[in-house]
Amino acid sequence: MAADEGAVAVETVPGPTRRPILPKMTRPNSPPAASSRNGSPPPRLSGWGRLFQPGRQVLSEDLERLTEGAVLCRGLGRSYGDSSLPPASHPEVAGTTLADRILDFDVTSGRIRAEAGLSLFELNRLFLRKRWFTPVSPGTQFVTLGGMVAADVHGKNHHQKGCFGEHVRSLRMRIASGEIVTCSEEENRELFLATIGGMGLTGHILEVEFALEKIPSPWIWCESERIRDIDDFIRGLKEAGPDWPYTVGWIDCISRGSSMGRGILQKGRWAHPYLAPSKPPAFKKRFTVPFEFPSWVLGRPTVQAFNTLYYWKHVSRFQKGILHPDSFFYPLDMVNHWNLIYGKHGFTQYQCVMPESSGRGAARRFLELLTSKGGASFLCVIKDCGAEGRGMLSFPKPGISIALDIAVRPDTPQLIDALNELVIREEGRVYLAKDAFTRPEDFAAMEPRLAPWNQVRRRWDPEQRLKSAQSIRVLGDSE
């Protein structure tokens, strides 16, 4: 969550029962069957997890024209699975990233209106030094405003500030009929609430209006602590919640027994000006992964070594100090194309939330199941979620969210099925922006809100013109 995502590989041991696997994503990297007219293979597209499917993205500054007749928009493609991929029947998505103008900004209130393709990276580059920051930030800044609304992203401050959608004032959209409409709490409210977290399926977002937050300095005061096990972790997160606007935990999910769920708890707030360096944070140099790694690189020994190192790197039990905001919010952005380390079979992220009602033990039961299945994830991220947002299909709800990256292997679908089974039992749910393998019946079992959301969607798109590879895979849309 919050800063999601440590990297990670889950390696799994084939389970005893091989359930039939998914029709669509079973061998995501198998070469496409047909070639295009001129003999070159048809273009392919993937989310951040590099599970490729046939598809092509068309880019233009003119988002209004680009979205005419489009079935789906795609931002920076940082959703992991197939959320931003077109359905096979219309293999073209409208790429929004060139539509990135700031149209309005009010220096007194922080209210900003911009085109949907504006990236959070650019927003931070321009506004951090002026001491304005997005009210909610995911764990990467390479996302667009459109993607932040469509997935209703959450961050390290979810326990206090909720999702990004809570801070959106209005949206300008091209809906399925081709009309351009504005929606907000006051106007076309139902469309507004269905679009927040609606994964691009209710209309194409052209412009987003929301409020930036004034911050005392552009540096972070961070305190972190080594934590012994999962129960201490959850206690630590809950205790820190009222005093700290940003909290998150990185856990080692290989260790079993008494140290299961040990890790590092991080708490942060914007530093007081008198504590912060006087200069604005400088642009940080990045590394680039130069090529796709062979798959064995992320085998169990590497992952185990990494987790142990990460835990003991935190030498003293407590640490505190001033951090560059990029190091605090976006540690993974330091490495360009880090998704290449998972090799040619790609990876997925599993993120679920276990509701408060299922009790403290739920996170422990989750880790027990994961480790018993031989899941070995590079860091795994844990975060307590606050109240459920207004987005009709928004992911978080009060409880504990756990996110881990899983290298795709032949038995990955079975592992996801097993984890989903537990999540359904605990009345939790999974995050569509990360998902690539959940079965439609499992998603429906987790999501009682699906039917009301679908009703709204049908009212605004009776012919079901808008769809994605994901909506066909999990939401039961027809091809």
């Binding site: 880019l59 233009s60 500054e61 060139l98 103008r101």
Partner: protein, 246 residues
């Protein structure tokens, strides 16, 4: 600097305009469509380190009768500009240009004839005030006659020669001419084409062009590796150029 930009609504022109206002320069936008210009101006105002209002005027490279009025408006709003950047241009694949002779004629007129006519107007104005900078986007496609860009390349070849001539003749009088030769850059113009190695981004090009403006470099290959790629291509003998596909 007080800079007029023709082509600042999209692609590399948009990136150059942003880089200039961010470092505190004043800009004036020229373009074809007023509602679009207005949105671009707003965007620049919110990024600007100094200029509270970015003025604009209509100017279409297909309509040379409007050039004078457009440059007058810019002169008035900026209190006399000292720099002009032109990124506006048309592109079509060789296939498309061959299929559509009318489009080919428009491309040749916009990229060569009318751009030169526009530059001549700018040249007269700048020389009258003792000099200034004229920075125009040509292309590496104009360096050699190449199979995939016979028509487009010829329009840029003519433009490059014109700019080279101006640089030789008028630099002494204070007119600095900069010919920018981008290699493949990922913009709306190259949308749908497979990017080759060393493909660049508009931001990368903008950073390089702003440096060239400060230094008055007469010729800029960008992104950097294209200088060496073109050095090799310029040396290839004719019989090789006839064989190869690029």
């Amino acid at each position: 600097m007080k800079t007029v930009i023709l082509g600042g609504t999209r692609g590399m022109g948009r990136a150059v305009a942003r880089a200039l206002v961010e470092r505190g320069d004043s800009v004036f936008l020229l373009g074809r469509q007023s509602s679009d210009l207005e949105k671009c101006a707003k965007d620049l105002e919110h990024r600007s380190a100094g200029q509270a209002q970015v003025p604009t005027a209509i100017c279409d490279l297909e309509d040379p009768s409007g050039f004078d009025a457009a440059l007058d408006a810019a002169d008035e709003a900026l209190g006399g500009f000292d720099t002009v950047v032109i990124t506006a241009g048309l592109f079509g694949t060789q296939e498309k240009l061959e299929e559509d002779p009318e489009f080919a004629r428009r491309m040749l007129t916009v990229n060569f004839t009318n751009t030169v006519v526009f530059c001549e107007n700018v040249r007269r104005r700048l020389l009258e005030r003792g000099g200034g900078t004229l920075c125009v986007f040509s292309s590496v496609a104009g360096e050699r006659g190449r199979k995939p860009v016979v028509l487009y390349g010829s329009s840029k070849a003519g433009l490059s020669r014109y700019l080279e001539g101006l640089d030789h003749r008028d630099r002494e009088k204070g007119l600095v001419t900069i010919c920018v030769k981008p290699g493949f850059v990922k913009t709306g113009m190259t949308e749908g084409l497979e990017p080759p190695p060393f493909a660049g981004t508009p931001e990368q090009v903008a950073t390089r062009v702003v440096r060239a403006l400060s230094r008055g470099e007469p010729e800029v290959y960008t992104p950097g590796p294209w200088r060496f790629v073109m050095m090799v291509i310029r040396c290839l003998p004719r019989f090789v150029m006839r064989k190869v596909g690029f």
